[in-house]
């Protein structure tokens, strides 16, 4: 059973707004970069970077970050997470990083991502952009830029589908069956 929360147009508008917010809050894009968290944040980070680039007429560095090695739930997961690419082709020291993820839920993925970034270098600041904030935080983590706030119950799951993965752009809300796995999203 699933319900569409955002369609292609909604997504497009949200990303455009977030791009403007990022530029506004940082007073431009100097010393700024975007890093998408594998897997859900990678395409979003690229799209945001493209939009920001066309607004400011200047490219902004984009990277991707895999957090498998920094997860806090390795012992209890039913299956081991697949290791994906960390590709940050620039120095992060003294840079402002906007972490990008698709859904903010418990906040644990973000904590893992921050630990990973700290091991890679010493950023000047870290901000957080998420397409969906579905609540139920377990750590004191807050997003700076949110596409849409969606209150959910724990028996539901939020899925972001994107063209880059071969599906139409949309965000859907699904009711999980009893066997679903609760994982940081």
């Amino acid at each position: 059973m699933s319900k569409e929360l955002m369609n292609k147009k909604d997504l497009e508008r949200a990303l455009t707004r977030m791009a403007h917010e990022i530029i506004e809050k940082n007073k431009g894009i100097s010393n700024l970069c975007l890093i998408g968290i594998q897997r859900g944040g990678v395409h979003l980070a690229r799209r945001l970077a493209a939009k920001i680039g066309s607004i400011e007429q200047k490219d902004i560095p984009v990277g991707s970050l895999d957090i498998a090695f920094y997860r806090d739930d390795l012992n209890i997961r039913k299956q081991q997470p697949i290791v994906r690419k960390t590709d940050i082709p620039f120095e992060v020291n003294d840079l402002k990083i906007v972490l990008v993820d698709d859904v903010l839920f418990t906040g644990r993925s973000i904590r893992s991502a921050m630990d990973a970034l700290m091991d890679i270098g010493r950023p000047a600041a870290i901000q957080l952009a998420v397409l969906i904030d579905r609540g139920h935080r377990e750590l004191p983590i807050k997003a700076d830029y949110v596409g849409k706030n969606i209150p959910t119950s724990l028996s539901e799951t939020v899925e972001v589908q994107m063209e880059e993965e071969g599906l139409d752009d949309r965000v859907i809300l699904k009711k999980m069956d009893a066997g679903g796995e609760k994982g940081a999203q």
Binding site: A68, F69, Q80, K85, I120
Partner: protein, 312 residues
């Protein structure tokens, strides 16, 4: 996160023979992620924090043991080195008892090297810790083959369809055997080059080509894996002298030119410079010997990471 089910099927790494093509590929893919980490300032991840690795080496080996030790430490496990002369094995304790004692001390990973084939298999049967074979008798040395495959794949982009020549003392080399299984499983064409006394005839039944003339064997090769000639073999009639060996099967620039232009030269180490390989090549542009060492740590981290995810 949507999980794709990709796991190893056994809690132990006993040999390449026991791995499927998918499992080998999984180890190599995961190793790529770990290699990134080794390029950073902070060469460490907290992934296996709190776990304990015990190196149980019954045969001396500085380089393999150090590589495993570093891999374990980079994953944040605690590492204990247990080498035979200092242990109670000399006092007559049985192998299985030693391993059970080590497990009772809290070992999650036991890396074992032993002169007798089949010892890792014996221990794996009795332990719930993960047993990693670091070399058993003349059976296998699986992590060496995996790091060799990783190196080849990184340099050449693939393994299937490549011509790989393994040169030297095949008969006594567990490295050669693991490499033969691994490369064949991944679809490479494997050639063995060396004197007849050091290449068992039965190997022809496994589909590898055997050459005793090095020039012929090297023609068109994409990858060369040079094996160390063990000096202890010299007195036993396998070849008359190291000089004669070097003359016939030593890798020289002239012989190397028979291979493809973009051939890569590998060696598991330690090298006998001037015997199986000349310094000019070992230190030259086609050599990837030092990268093998770095890749070894990444591959061993990958193995430990994946084994830790196997449910008992």
């Amino acid at each position: 996160m949507r999980g794709e089910r990709k796991v190893l099927s056994s809690k132990d790494l006993l040999g390449i023979k026991e791995l499927s093509r998918e499992e080998i590929t999984l180890v190599l893919d995961t190793a790529a992620g770990f290699k990134d980490i080794l390029g950073r300032d902070i060469k460490k991840v907290p992934t296996l924090r709190g776990k304990t690795t015990v190196n149980l080496f019954f045969e001396p080996s500085t380089r393999t043991r150090t590589s495993f030790e570093l891999a374990a430490k980079r994953l944040s496990t605690d590492v204990i080195n247990f080498s035979v002369p200092t242990s109670s094995v000399v006092k007559g304790e049985s192998l299985v008892d030693t391993a059970l004692t080590v497990q009772a001390l809290g070992a999650d990973f036991i890396v074992i090297r032993h002169a007798s084939s089949g010892v890792p298999h014996l221990l794996a049967r009795h332990l719930h810790a993960s047993v990693i074979n670091a070399g058993d008798g003349t059976n296998e040395h699986p992590t060496q083959a995996l790091l060799d495959a990783f190196t080849i794949r990184e340099k050449k982009g693939r393994i299937a369809g490549l011509t790989v020549a393994i040169v030297g003392d095949i008969m006594h080399s567990r490295v050669a055997k693991s490499n033969i299984y691994c490369l064949k499983t991944l679809g490479a064409d494997v050639r063995l080059i060396g004197p007849p006394t050091l290449i068992p005839r039965n190997l022809r039944e496994t589909g590898v080509a055997i050459f005793h003339n090095m020039e012929d064997g090297l023609k068109g090769a994409d990858v060369l894996i040079m094996l160390r000639i063990q000096m202890e073999r010299q007195g036993k009639g396998f070849f008359p002298s190291t000089e004669e060996y070097a003359k016939n099967w030593g890798l020289t620039p002239e012989r190397l030119s028979r291979a493809k232009e973009d051939v890569i030269v590998m060696h598991p180490g330690p090298m006998n410079r001037g015997i199986e390989i000349v310094s000019e090549i070992a230190d030259g542009p086609k050599s990837v010997i030092l990268e093998q060492v770095t890749n070894g740590i990444a591959v061993r981290m990958s193995v430990m990471y994946l084994l830790s995810g196997v449910k008992r």
